[in-house]
């Protein structure tokens, strides 16, 4: 029977008159309206990981910026008479073996970690993006660049940073430079991978066919699509850069000892940690919390920017 076969093209359109549509009874309210919260608060509610990570991050940034106002004293002021005092109402986190206030040092130390974390994330993203785009688009450069990146990646990144620091005088700038060099290969690989897969997309072919210039293709079609994975990668780099800075300072190859960074405070507390563990533990807790905040932010961003990945990793 030909009438039983459903044929979309053969629908009796003429039968559907305007009056019928207008007269149709309103849909019964079976489903309650979906409460899609809009705006910033709704976004946070839908992405609790970003909310928690971002909130914690904001607190730590505020703490670092406002450190001088948060009842701290000069973090480098020596007071031999008040050495190694236990935490008390007067010295919240106690004092170290030179009588310096650990609370003030920890709060000021946040600045070093945040500066290093953000700077490394920014510089390695920019440099990695440039290298990744180059090697994704210029065939002959690709082979050379990727061999160099493979070589650099086979040096464990913290060792690479150690080698670089061993030859320079310790300074925050050199720490940033050393960790950035160690992180760039990973970013370039990521960007190159994204570029290579985007180049196969039909819309890029279409752009090529319609005579769009290569720089324009890069800026209009490739670059915007690399930003999401790059942002996620940048947060993870920020987290690992903070850990790397503390490791470098802890083993004496990082921030100069005069600057209170979390790694330095721990390095100085190391000799006494069995009797005065709090000198090591307070910076350790703050470092862990900060890295945790950045990692949560990264996980949240990843799930938000790439929902297909959310359920998996």
């Amino acid at each position: 029977m030909s009438t039983s076969t459903f044929q979309p093209g053969a629908l009796p359109r003429a039968a559907l008159r305007a009056e019928d549509v207008a007269a149709a009874a309103p849909m019964p309210d079976i489903l309650p309206p979906v409460k899609a919260r809009r705006g910033f608060l709704g976004f946070l509610r839908r992405n609790p990981t970003i909310a928690v990570g971002g909130g914690l991050m904001l607190l730590i940034i505020l703490m670092a910026v406002l450190a001088p106002l948060l009842w701290t004293v000069d973090p480098t002021a020596l007071a031999p008479a008040r050495r190694t005092r236990e935490p008390s109402a007067l010295y919240w986190f106690g004092t170290d073996m030179l009588g310096r206030d650990v609370y003030s040092r920890v709060l000021h130390g946040a600045r070093v970690s945040l500066i290093v974390g953000f700077a490394v994330a920014f510089f390695s993203s920019v440099i990695g993006l440039a290298i990744g785009l180059t090697s994704g688009f210029i065939r002959w450069a690709d082979a050379i660049i990727m061999r160099i990146m493979d070589g650099l990646m086979s040096i464990p990144s913290i060792l690479l940073a150690i080698a670089l620091m061993a030859l320079t005088r310790g300074s925050v700038g050199n720490v940033i430079l050393a960790i950035t060099i160690a992180e760039v290969p990973r970013v370039s690989r990521l960007v190159r991978g994204v570029v290579l897969s985007l180049r196969e997309q039909p819309y890029v072919d279409a752009a090529v066919a319609s005579g769009t210039s290569t720089p324009r293709i890069i800026v209009r079609h490739i670059l915007p699509n690399t930003l999401a994975p790059l942002t996620v990668q940048a947060t993870y780099i920020c987290a690992s850069a903070m850990i790397a800075e503390s490791i470098l300072s802890f083993i004496g190859a990082g921030t100069p000892p005069i600057i209170p960074s979390w790694g330095n405070i721990m390095a100085e507390g190391r000799a006494l940690w069995q009797v005065k563990p709090y000198i090591v533990f307070f910076p350790a807790i703050f470092l862990s919390l900060t890295v945790l905040a950045v990692n949560l932010l990264g996980d949240g961003l990843r799930d938000w920017l790439d929902p297909r990945m959310a359920k998996k990793v």
């Binding site: 061999r147 086979s154 040096i155 080698a163 030859l167 862990s288």
Partner: protein, 313 residues
Amino acid sequence: MLAYTLRRIVATIPVMAVVALFVFSLLYISPGDPAAVIAGDQATPADVERIRASLGLDRPYLVRFAEWAWNIMRGDLGTSIFTNLPVSTMIQQRIQPTLSLMVITLILAICIAVPMGVVAAWKQGTWIDRLVMGFAVLGFSVPVFVVGYLLAYVFALELDWLPVQGYTPFERGFWPWLQNLILPSVALGGVYIALIARITRATMLEVLQQDYIRTARAKGVAQPGILFLHALKNAAVPIVTVIGIGVALLIGGAVVTESVFAIPGLGRLTVDAILRRDYPVIQGVILLFSFTYVLVNLVIDLLYTLFDPRIRY
């Protein structure tokens, strides 16, 4: 297969060459006069000249590199500026503790992380899954020395179950040797466990959706059989790959762990070398670690066919 093996082995040569060239060139591309930096602030001009000569900085770059590379291929890593001992001898003296630490951590991490990831994938969405994933985020966020100090404080100082610090050579018995390595391996294993557990869970989730898993279930295979025989076997390749990549974390972490637990290994040697700016030693250790890393990943690449017979070259 033989052709692939040979090609794969040959492919590591340029990678190792880049590593060697980079580690060597650091001396030349570092800002300022490396001989002066290595000699330190209290050095006399004669000291600086002596170091310059011993590093070969007074001779042409390419000549020096050829000489250095030739020596390395013969197993001569140069001479320490500080102790005047051959670097290879110094490495030999320190290799046992580091190797022990890494092997125990590797075994421990695999034994803990793989079942963790499998169970998390099996119980996806339950509190067990969330617990495992939460642990993974913590593992990524809490730096190795923080875990180290915490473990040492609780299990060695407070509970007095295990030694606080130090290392007992294997020759003095299995238990004394193991006793000293338990806390360091747990501390070092944290990130590694988090990494492996995450990948195991992600891969298992994918594999558990396959048709052959449904078939196994339909024919009545018990749950553990499905998980560990049918699914895990098919998830092996990504897991093994990440275990290989994670060796870089072990190497970087060993440097710090050995400092925290006063283990006289290669990590400790690196840290001492940095403090003395003993560059030949730093070079030697980094080369050794990087070559090990490249070799481990080469072996894993070659073992893929063993884990997954479907892979053919």
